[in-house]
């Protein structure tokens, strides 16, 4: 059986002549948090809707728990908890009454499910406040409670921190991390906020204009993340030659008469500086630089839009 809890192949959604999602193939591993990162309108929500069978793909396949979603909805969907777009509940009912409706439909008879879910998101059980009177943050919390109430194996959360205050964001982040670490749940989370994804996700998919540009683990992305050394010396060409011939360092680039960049991270800066000084070169600066993830994502997506 496949290791992937979610696997899509060539998933495409076309509205008119415009591709909202184009040939998307994502792979979400069991027990991991997968962050789908993209700017607004990149196709994250459409992708998630297709994963839940809410939107029919124009082409391509969705496999969840190793089985095609189409035709297996009755077996697959009860194992998923989801939050898609804005929280949707009945305004004339309280939070508890709203959850009771869905608990009833899911066959969860004991009130402990509702109580437990509300506790997780810090909302009171049997509160008198109607959903229509909830703040945006409370609505979002209730939507998260609904997603986790039936203890699903897979969570699909579309921008779950929308509308939450900083404390709420930290709480939800901690709770999502704990769900994955303590109970082994698989979580697919989307966001346009890079810091959130980088704090939470184990694996990251970058989507832009409906196309998946990158799919890697956070560690791999961080490793790729443009770390490099820069030296300012009296003779950059000679210094580059020394690094290559004496220390076997590759990927050395002479930027100007006095500056060179080294992208080979095996370099020991101390040894390099000693080598330069022994060869009679003066060294006025030696620095390790690192691009942030944000720089990297901007470079990959070709511009702005990720906060």
């Amino acid at each position: 059986m496949s290791d992937y809890v979610i696997e899509t192949r060539g998933l495409t959604k076309t509205y008119g002549e415009q591709n909202s999602v184009s040939n998307l193939s994502i792979h979400v591993r069991k027990g991991r948090i997968y962050g789908l990162l993209g700017r607004n309108g990149a196709g994250k929500t459409t992708t998630m809707r297709m994963l839940l069978g809410l939107t029919a793909p124009s082409s391509g396949d969705v496999k969840i728990f190793g089985k095609p979603l189409r035709g297996n909805e009755k077996n697959i969907l009860p194992r998923i908890g989801s939050l898609i777009e804005s929280p949707g509940f009945y305004p004339n009912l309280t939070g508890t009454e709203n959850l009771r409706i869905f608990a009833d439909l899911r066959g969860l008879k004991s009130p402990k499910y509702i109580k437990g879910a509300l506790e997780v998101v810090n909302l009171p059980y049997r509160d008198k406040k109607l959903f229509s009177q909830y703040s945006l943050g409370m609505k979002q919390r209730l939507a998260i409670a609904l997603a986790v109430m039936h203890n699903p194996e897979l969570l699909i959360l579309d921008e779950p921190i929308n509308g939450l205050d900083p404390i709420g964001i930290a709480e939800v982040r901690g709770f999502i991390r704990e769900l994955c670490d303590a109970t082994g749940k698989t979580i697919l989370i989307s966001s346009h906020i890079l810091s959130e994804i980088s704090l939470l996700a184990d694996d990251i998919g970058i989507i832009d204009h409906g196309v998946l540009l990158e799919e890697e683990s956070l560690k791999e992305l961080e490793a790729k993340n443009g770390k490099y050394f820069r030296f300012t010396v009296s003779n950059a060409a000679l210094a580059a030659n020394l690094l290559q011939s004496k220390l076997g360092i590759q990927n050395v680039q002479v930027d100007s008469a006095n500056e060179l960049t080294v992208r080979d991270l095996r370099l020991d800066t101390g040894a390099a500086v000693r080598l330069f000084v022994d060869a009679g070169l003066s060294v006025s600066d030696a620095h390790l630089y690192e691009d942030t993830l944000e720089d990297y994502f901007k470079q990959v997506t070709g511009g702005e839009g990720i906060a």
Binding site: Y90, D104, L105, L146
Partner: protein
């Protein structure tokens, strides 16, 4: 299905429109009893029952129940879209046709309750007048049957509302015209005097209901006008089995169409 129906009832909590619609079932019987002099002086209990129940059948059912069913249907069928809850239901998963049918079942029960409440208010008025409610229970159950018939009769209108997808104003306009047309057809000789078969007199709820319930009124002491009317229309009366055959066929056809149209609307 039972779960869905239970949830539909749960969703009605604090919904004033639904309870206002239920409350109007008592309005016409009470209004007639309080304000119309001919509804205050009866020669016998049987006459009182006949007159009050006739008001219930011809005014409450036609003019209030049918529009109420359509307006409530549009409210129920579009509440998921309005509140963005359809996505939560679909991921349970709940099938959209089953959801639509649960809502229609709720309206079916509402229609029965509407006529039952109206009938019981009439019973209370007869008893309060110190008369014996002779023949009440027979007409009470005819009233329940008419409630079911009005529910079936409202289904084509509900289908139009679903097809027009959330246009409440158009729904209300359609309901108004449909109600008026049915009321006119229900008292028009051309539609009443048609044999049982594939014709407007059988297929439209207004005329069909009249051809059914009218035979159950007390005709032991008829007036000249009543005798003439009975002679004219009695050949066209339909039996209870015939009327329920029409109800079953029409409701199966329209419920299937409503479920199909609702299924194909996006969530």
């Amino acid at each position: 299905m039972l779960k869905l129906l239970r949830c539909e009832f749960a969703k009605l909590k604090r919904k004033p429109l639904f309870f206002a619609a239920a409350a109007i079932s008592a309005l016409i019987p009470l209004g007639c009893a309080l304000f119309l002099p001919e509804m205050q002086e009866f020669s016998s209990g049987a006459e009182a029952v006949d007159r009050l129940m006739s008001t219930l059948f011809q005014l409450s059912a036609y003019l209030l129940l049918m529009p109420a069913v359509v307006v409530l249907a549009s409210n129920l069928l579009f509440e998921e879209q309005d509140n963005d809850t359809l996505k939560n239901l679909m991921t349970v998963p709940v099938s959209k046709p089953a959801l639509a049918l649960a809502k229609m079942t709720l309206l079916f029960l509402f229609s029965i309750a509407f006529m039952a409440v109206g009938g019981l208010v009439n019973l209370a008025i007869v008893l309060a007048s110190g008369l014996e409610p002779v023949g009440f229970w027979k007409l009470f159950f005819v009233g329940i049957g008419q409630g079911i018939l009005m529910w079936t009769g409202a289904l084509p209108c509900v289908l139009l509302v679903v097809l027009l997808n959330r246009s409440y104003i158009i729904s209300v306009i359609i309901t108004f015209f449909y109600t008026v047309i049915n009321y006119i057809f229900g008292i028009n000789d051309y539609f009443i005097m048609q044999p049982f078969g594939f014709n407007p007199g059988t297929l439209l709820p207004g005329s069909l209901a009249f051809r059914w319930f009218y035979q159950y009124f007390d005709t032991s002491n008829p007036t000249a006008q009543m005798t003439e009317l009975m002679e004219q229309i009695s050949p066209y009366f339909v039996t209870t089995s015939q009327i329920f055959l029409v109800i079953v066929l029409e409701s199966v056809a329209f419920l299937t169409l409503i479920a199909l149209v609702y299924k194909h609307q996006s969530c």
